[in-house]
C-alpha cells in the first residue's frame, strides 16, 4: 500500500497530467463535476457525489462523429478521430465504476462502439472509496462495495492521507509514473481496513440499504409492464431529463446534424427517454404518453437490462436521481411502490 499526503496531491495531479489528460472532480460555480484538470482548477475530492456522473469521460454528452464540408457541389467528409491520447479519471466511486461496467455491456458488445472502445482503452481509472456515504446512497442493494472500489487503482482518503493501491496492470503503470511522489507504508493497510469497516458500518445504517429487488427480473416483464402502479407513479414527472443526464448508466443518444454554414457537423448527444421526441420516427412516437416514457426508464433499468445481461441491473444506486429530481421522484420510490403493492399486482 502506497500513500501520499493530501497537501501533495496538487503535485500528484500535475505529474499525472504530464503527457495525458487528467479528469477529476472540479468545483465550478458551487457545483462539483468531473472536468479536465488545469493548474487553476478548483479540485474537490471531498464532496461525495458529482452532479453529473463521470460517464462523460468515456461517453461524453456530445461528440462529433464526422465533419462534412461543402465546396460548390462537392462534399468532403472527414470522420472524427478516435481517442488516441491516454487519460486518467481520478476519484471515481464504486457506483460510478459499476456504471462503466454497464456501459461496457452496451457499447463493447457487438457491434462495438469504436468511439467508446477507444476511450476505454486509453483511460485509467483511479477510484476512491466513499468516505462518508449519504442517505441517498443504495449501492449495497446492487452488491457494490463502496468501501473497496474495483478499478485500476483504488484509493482511500484517511486523515489527510491518500492511501493508494494499484489493482491492475494499467494501475501499476500509473503508479510507476508517480512512484517518487508516493511512499510505501505497510502500516497503511491496517488504516485502510479500519476505514473499510467504518464505511460498511455506515452503509448498513443507510435508509435505503435494505431495499429489496425481489421480483425485479426479466421473468416479471409483462406483470410489471402492465401494472396500474405506473399510472400513479408518473404523475408528478415534469418530463425533464435530469434523472437521465445525472445517471451513470443511461446510455441513450441521438444523432443530429448541425449546419455550420459551410457544411454539416454530425454529432451524437445524450438523449433522454423522458423527452417527448425520444425515438421519434417518421410515423410518430412509440411511446406517446409520459406514463409510457416514465415506465420505459425504470423497466429498462430494472427489467429489460438484467434480462439481457445476466441479471445485471442498469442502476448502480448512486442516488443522484434521488437528489436531483425536481419532483422528488426516483427509482427507489418506484421499487418501493411495487413492494407496497404486494404480491397481487407486482
Amino acid at each position: 500500500m502506497y500513500k501520499i499526503a493530501k497537501e501533495n496531491l496538487p503535485a500528484l495531479f500535475q505529474r499525472i497530467a504530464e503527457g495525458q489528460d487528467l479528469i477529476l472532480p472540479i468545483s465550478n460555480g458551487g457545483q462539483v463535476n468531473y472536468g479536465v484538470w488545469t493548474e487553476d482548477a478548483d479540485v474537490d475530492i471531498e464532496t461525495l457525489k458529482s452532479v453529473k456522473s463521470p460517464k462523460d469521460a468515456f461517453f461524453p454528452q456530445s461528440e462529433n462523429l464526422y465533419t462534412c464540408v461543402r465546396e460548390g457541389k462537392k462534399l468532403q467528409i472527414t470522420p472524427e478521430e478516435l481517442q488516441q491520447k491516454d487519460f486518467v479519471v481520478f476519484g471515481m466511486k464504486a457506483c460510478d465504476i459499476q456504471g462503466v461496467e454497464v456501459l461496457d455491456k452496451v457499447f463493447l458488445s457487438e457491434p462495438v462502439d469504436t468511439f467508446y472502445a477507444a476511450r476505454r482503452q486509453h483511460g485509467t481509472i483511479v477510484a476512491m472509496a466513499c468516505h462518508e456515504p449519504e442517505e441517498t446512497c443504495f449501492c449495497k442493494v446492487f452488491g457494490i462495495d463502496a468501501a473497496e472500489p474495483k478499478a485500476d487503482v483504488a484509493t482511500w482518503l484517511i486523515d489527510g492521507e491518500l492511501c493508494w493501491k494499484p489493482l491492475t496492470e494499467k494501475g501499476e503503470t500509473l503508479t510507476k509514473a508517480v512512484a517518487d511522489l508516493l511512499s510505501d507504508d505497510a502500516a497503511a493497510d491496517a488504516k485502510v481496513e479500519n476505514e473499510k469497516s467504518a464505511i460498511r458500518a455506515i452503509i448498513d445504517k443507510l435508509p435505503y440499504s435494505d431495499l429489496s429487488l425481489e421480483g425485479w427480473n426479466g421473468d416479471a416483464l409483462t406483470e410489471k409492464f402492465n401494472s396500474p402502479v405506473w399510472e400513479e407513479l408518473y404523475k408528478p414527472c415534469l418530463a425533464c431529463g435530469t434523472c437521465t443526464f445525472v445517471c451513470p448508466t443511461c446510455q441513450c443518444y441521438d444523432i443530429k446534424d448541425y449546419d455550420t454554414g459551410h457544411g454539416v457537423q454530425r454529432y451524437r448527444c445524450w438523449d433522454s427517454c423522458m423527452y417527448s421526441d425520444f425515438t421519434m420516427m417518421a410515423h410518430g412516437n412509440n411511446r406517446n404518453s409520459q406514463m409510457q416514457r416514465f415506465r420505459q426508464r425504470f423497466m429498462h433499468k430494472l427489467v429489460y437490462f438484467p434480462a439481457n445481461n445476466d441479471g445485471m441491473y442498469s442502476c448502480v444506486g448512486c442516488g443522484r436521481c434521488v437528489e436531483k429530481c425536481p419532483s422528488a421522484l426516483n427509482i427507489v420510490k418506484v421499487i418501493k411502490a411495487f413492494q407496497n403493492q404486494g404480491g397481487e399486482n407486482a
Binding site: N28, G29, Q31, N33, C240, G241, V246, C269, A328, N330
Partner: protein, 324 residues
C-alpha cells in the same frame, strides 16, 4: 396541515371537487412529491411542510382538463402563476378549487446540504405548524442545527408577500420572509465590466446539462411544444454542443417568458446544477419596471403584459448603449 386535510376530505366527500392536488410524503425527510388524492385513505400520506416548494400551478394545465374540479394547494407566490395561466387560457378557473395554503418560506435541501450536512436521518422544524426558527437535523454523522432562514430557497429571501392573489379559501397563515432585494444581484452584474459579465455567465452556463428541468418546471413555459424541441425554427437542440447553445437557450427562454414570468423561482429551484437562472428573468423584470413602469405578472389579470402593449413615448433601444 390537519385543518387542510380535513377541509380537503370534506370537499372531496361532498362532491365539490373530484381530486386534490397536494403533496405526498416522501421516503426521506425532505422529498415530498406533488400528488393527487382522490380517496379518503390516500390522505394518510398527505403532507404539507417546508419542503413542499413545488409550484403546483403548472400541474393545473393538465388537471383542469380532467372531469370535475381539482382542489389545488397554492402558496401565495404560486397564485401569481395561476393568474397568469388564466390570462393565457391555459387553465380553466371553473375547474379549479384553490386553497391558498400558508407559507413561511420553503426550504432548499441542496442549500442545507451545502452547509456540510449529510447522512440525514430526520429533520425537525420544517413542519408548517411549527414556529421554530431553527431546523434540527439528525444525521448519521451527528446532530446539526441551522437557522430556518439559512435553509430557505433563494426566492423566499425575496418573497413577494404573504397575500394570495387568487383563491377560494385560505387555510393557514403566511409570513413575508423577504430579507433581501431581488434586484441586488442583477444590479451587481450590471455594474460589472463586459468581460466580467461575460465570464460570470460563461461560468454559470457552462454547468448547464440541458436537462430542461427549468423549462419543464416553469409555469410560463407552458408551450405544448417548445421551439427548442420543434423544427419550426430549425432550432431544435438536445445538448449544448457549443457554449453558444447554452446562451441561446437561456436567453430565448427568458425572452419568451419576459412579461409573463412571475418570478416564482422554480427554474432556479429545480436546476440540478444550481445555475441562478432567475438572474435572467429578473433582468427582464428589472428592465421592464425601469423602462415601462412597475409590472408584476400574474398580479392583475385585466392588465396587458408589457410585451403585448406599448406607449408612444417608450425608450429607444439605444438606451442600452447610453446607459453604458
Amino acid at each position: 396541515m390537519q385543518e387542510l386535510i380535513a377541509r380537503a376530505k370534506e370537499l372531496l366527500a361532498n362532491g365539490t371537487v373530484a381530486r386534490v392536488l397536494g403533496w405526498k410524503a416522501g421516503d426521506l425527510p425532505y422529498n415530498p412529491e406533488p400528488a393527487y388524492f382522490e380517496k379518503e385513505e390516500d390522505f394518510k400520506d398527505f403532507v404539507y411542510n417546508g419542503f413542499c416548494g413545488a409550484n403546483l400551478s403548472k400541474y393545473m394545465i393538465e388537471a383542469t382538463k380532467l372531469e370535475g374540479k381539482t382542489l389545488v394547494c397554492l402558496k401565495p407566490c404560486d397564485t401569481y402563476s395561476f393568474n397568469q395561466l388564466i390570462m393565457e387560457h391555459r387553465v380553466d378557473r371553473e375547474k379549479a378549487y384553490i386553497i391558498g395554503v400558508g407559507c413561511k418560506g420553503k426550504l432548499d435541501i441542496e442549500k442545507i446540504k451545502k452547509q456540510g450536512i449529510k447522512g440525514i436521518q430526520s429533520i425537525s422544524g420544517a413542519e408548517i405548524t411549527d414556529d421554530a426558527e431553527t431546523l434540527t437535523i439528525n444525521t448519521l454523522y451527528g446532530d446539526k442545527t441551522i437557522p430556518y432562514a439559512d435553509g430557505m430557497l433563494e426566492r423566499c429571501h425575496v418573497c413577494k408577500g404573504k397575500e394570495h392573489k387568487i383563491y377560494d379559501e385560505i387555510i393557514g397563515e403566511s409570513k413575508d420572509t423577504k430579507d433581501a432585494d431581488r434586484f441586488d444581484e442583477v444590479s451587481r452584474i450590471e455594474s460589472m465590466k463586459p468581460e466580467e459579465k461575460f465570464a460570470f455567465f460563461q461560468k454559470e452556463l457552462s454547468k448547464c446539462i440541458r436537462c430542461n428541468a427549468c423549462r419543464n418546471a416553469c409555469p410560463a413555459c407552458s408551450c405544448r411544444k417548445c421551439v427548442f424541441d420543434s423544427n419550426k425554427f430549425d432550432s431544435s437542440q438536445k445538448a449544448n454542443v457549443d457554449s453558444f447553445e447554452e446562451k441561446m437557450f437561456h436567453i430565448i427562454r427568458a425572452f419568451h417568458v419576459a412579461g409573463r414570468c412571475t418570478d416564482c423561482g422554480e427554474c432556479s429551484r429545480v436546476c440540478p446544477q444550481g445555475i441562478p437562472l432567475h438572474l435572467f428573468n429578473r433582468k427582464f423584470i428589472k428592465d421592464i419596471d425601469e423602462f415601462y413602469g412597475e409590472f408584476q405578472a400574474g398580479e392583475d389579470i385585466t392588465v396587458k403584459g408589457p410585451l403585448t402593449s406599448f406607449t408612444f413615448e417608450d425608450v429607444e433601444p439605444s438606451v442600452v448603449a447610453e446607459r453604458g
